[in-house]
């Protein structure tokens, strides 16, 4: 629940006034002030969605391989870029999609790319806002999220 700072200050003033008038004890005033401050302080664990929509898709990989040593990948891609790419993908000619479908089937991924519509792609990128993927293995850590 959001409250205006002025409202919280007003509540504090009222509590102090009640204490000064002797209507409440010092303990009660302390409890009330704590309650007001708890409502005022934002939860640090809460997601920062209130600041606006995420702008970037981040991919962080931290792998430790005996053969190639430590590998670190840190990629930040603007979501705008993904959207632009998706819009461009709409113009891919049908014959190219057919060939891509054939290659996907060969690889054991039976997805028909011709069935994917532009608005579905838009929805897909919009849904990325809420994506957080953590893969934690012994030697490898992968983290994908939006910020």
């Amino acid at each position: 629940m959001k409250r205006k700072p002025g409202t919280v200050n007003e509540q504090r003033r009222q509590i102090l006034q009640m204490l000064a008038d002797g209507k409440i004890t010092a303990d009660e005033a302390e409890r009330l002030l704590t309650a007001v401050e708890t409502v005022e302080e934002p939860d640090p664990a809460a997601p920062t969605r209130g600041k606006g929509r995420p702008k970037y898709l981040r991919l962080i990989v931290d792998a430790n391989d005996e053969h190639s040593g430590e590998t670190k990948v840190n990629i930040r891609v603007p979501l705008k870029l993904l959207r632009a790419g998706m819009r461009l993908a709409v113009f891919v000619p049908p014959q190219a999609l057919e060939r891509a479908n054939q290659e996907l089937v060969k690889q054991g991924v039976p997805i028909d790319l011709t069935e994917i519509k532009p608005n579905q792609l838009e929805d897909l990128v919009d849904a990325l806002d809420d994506l957080t993927l953590d893969v934690d293995q012994t030697d490898t850590k992968v983290r994908i999220f939006c910020e």
Partner: protein, 86 residues
């Protein structure tokens, strides 16, 4: 906003490092005659492959406009590459 500066940094196995700064706007201005040819070639390719040329060009432009903010850092052992677009 179009990309202003592309920064590439790398580190080789022997520890030598390098940096390259590419100011995009001056490079685009210098290469503009070639870009005109590339656009004409792109339009012809679109017509050959049955794609809408101007909408495709607009899509490529949007892709270019959306580049600022992209960053790629890859580090493996002693070698590392970092590309940042601002």
């Amino acid at each position: 906003m179009i990309p202003q500066l592309v920064t590439a940094r790398w580190r080789r196995k022997d520890g030598r490092t390098g940096r390259l700064f590419l100011p995009v706007v001056p490079i685009v201005i210098v290469l503009s005659p070639l870009l005109v040819l590339a656009v004409i070639g792109g339009i012809i390719a679109c017509l050959m492959f049955d794609m809408p040329p101007f909408r495709t060009l607009a899509g490529v432009g949007r892709l270019f406009w959306a580049l600022p903010g992209a960053r790629f850092d890859i580090e493996q052992g002693r070698t590392a590459v970092s590309v940042s677009i601002r």
